[in-house]
Symmetry: C2
Subunit: 235 residues, 2 copies
DNA sequence: CAGTAGAGGATCGTTGAACAATCCGACAAG
DNA sequence: CTTGTCGGATTGTTCAACGATCCTCTACTG
């Protein structure tokens, strides 16, 4: 009898194999364009124009739109087309409500000692590198990575996905901040502080730090965002 | 000047008005068919057959499939088609991990006294009516409604939507229970107990009850579901 | 002059057909 | 029993077309 192959070995390769589909690739392109701020909120995405630009059919493009609409990056208005989503202040408040509940719950769920903080550690390092490079947009990304890593501690695929979506939405709001440095930089040391508390297995402290972090960010963002929206009424 | 109409009055009608789109309606039909158990997990949904049966084009049907795939009710395998999702035991575990975190977090977030328990109250009543009618499938639905109401206490649209999806997935698992009565009935009084604790503003007790509820349900479901899957290997 | 009605153009929603790519099952060969 | 191959069936993708809907601009009426 020949030695059999452990099926688990091949599991990782499955993703490489299965991922194709033009619609997915188109969605990926648009997703990065949006999250990097090249397509600003409110922009209308014409099926004809984009389909022609990317060289895909309208049907395929519509499937890509559908994908991004469910990720809340696009909003779809019947017979009017799709637009890059414009978040309301209420959306921002809801996003932070979700973050408060889920991130804190993820931290509080850490009872067994050996939990893996390497992702969170890496995200903080990423943020410190971005700071020393003066790449403030990357700093925002690193902060997002850190909080994603915090949620990942709960070990739930569904929660990870939700958080990924929520944080992608949050990026749309970040683009309304005209000075990313003054907004993002103060939060980097706070992330490291949270990480330290987690390392020390001081769950209570970590949760308190996290809560105040989110409260402050929300307050700052809402204040800045609401006045920003007020000035943008006239295109 | 003609008397003006209060805009709020028309808000309710908007949903009726705005909802069109053949794809959405098709998705709705399939969604209820699946959640009510007429389409069992593993069933393959042929584009040709269903498109012809519902009288819609293949393209439109594919948009509907895309919708339901993102709701995790269908699984889409490239070049093979879409199937009614078959959850793994790992999925069930993840679903209960999500429920534990979110439902408990929602309860714990109740600090201000006047929170609205009418939805939860109604769900328990719905369950008691289903029990007295002997409608055990409705009892399962009522239990789901109760826990949805618990999450709704957090007041977050995004959390509500997540929970709706997770509970819809859970319905797929429930259909694998051959005796819905013995599975669902014991949980009804526990829901009422949780409701009572909430009414008395005893948050800590409510959270403890909720945790043990979810632990028990998960354990029972995993045990029953894993052996069920084992027997279904041969079609 | 203001306000409304209507025509026109642009875009979307949906359909049907077509072709290539891929998968599945059966059958034959080793 | 396993492996290779073939043909049918289904999906992935594109294209063209038509009706429906919305937006804008014009012209008419008071």
């Amino acid at each position: 009898m020949v030695a059999e192959i452990d099926p688990a070995v091949l599991m990782g390769d499955r993703a490489l194999l299965g991922r194709s589909s033009t619609a997915d690739r188109v969605a990926g392109i648009l997703r990065t364009r949006i999250s990097e701020g090249h397509l600003l909120p409110g922009t209308r995405l014409s099926e004809d124009a984009i389909g022609q630009a990317l060289g895909v059919s309208r049907n395929t493009l519509r499937e890509a739109f559908r994908l991004l609409t469910h990720e809340r990056l696009l909003s779809h208005e019947l017979n009017r087309g799709v637009f890059v989503r414009t978040l309301t202040v209420q959306d921002v408040v809801d996003i932070y409500q979700v973050r408060r509940l889920i991130e804190c719950a993820a931290v509080r769920s850490l009872t067994v000692a050996p939990y893996d903080l390497s992702q969170a550690e890496a995200a903080v390092a990423e943020g410190e590198k971005a700071t020393s490079d003066g790449a403030w947009a990357d700093l925002g990304t690193a902060n997002i990575h850190f909080h994603h890593a915090v949620v990942a501690l709960a070990g739930s695929a569904r929660l990870n996905e939700l958080m990924q979506g929520v944080l992608a939405e949050l990026r749309l709001v970040f683009h309304a901040m005209d000075n990313p440095r003054v907004f993002h930089e103060p939060y980097l040391p706070r992330n490291r502080e949270i990480l330290s508390a987690l390392k020390a297995a001081n769950i209570i402290k970590a949760e308190l730090l996290l809560t105040s972090y989110l409260d402050d960010a929300e307050q700052q963002l809402v204040a800045r965002y609401s006045e920003r929206i007020g000035t943008e009424r006239r295109p």
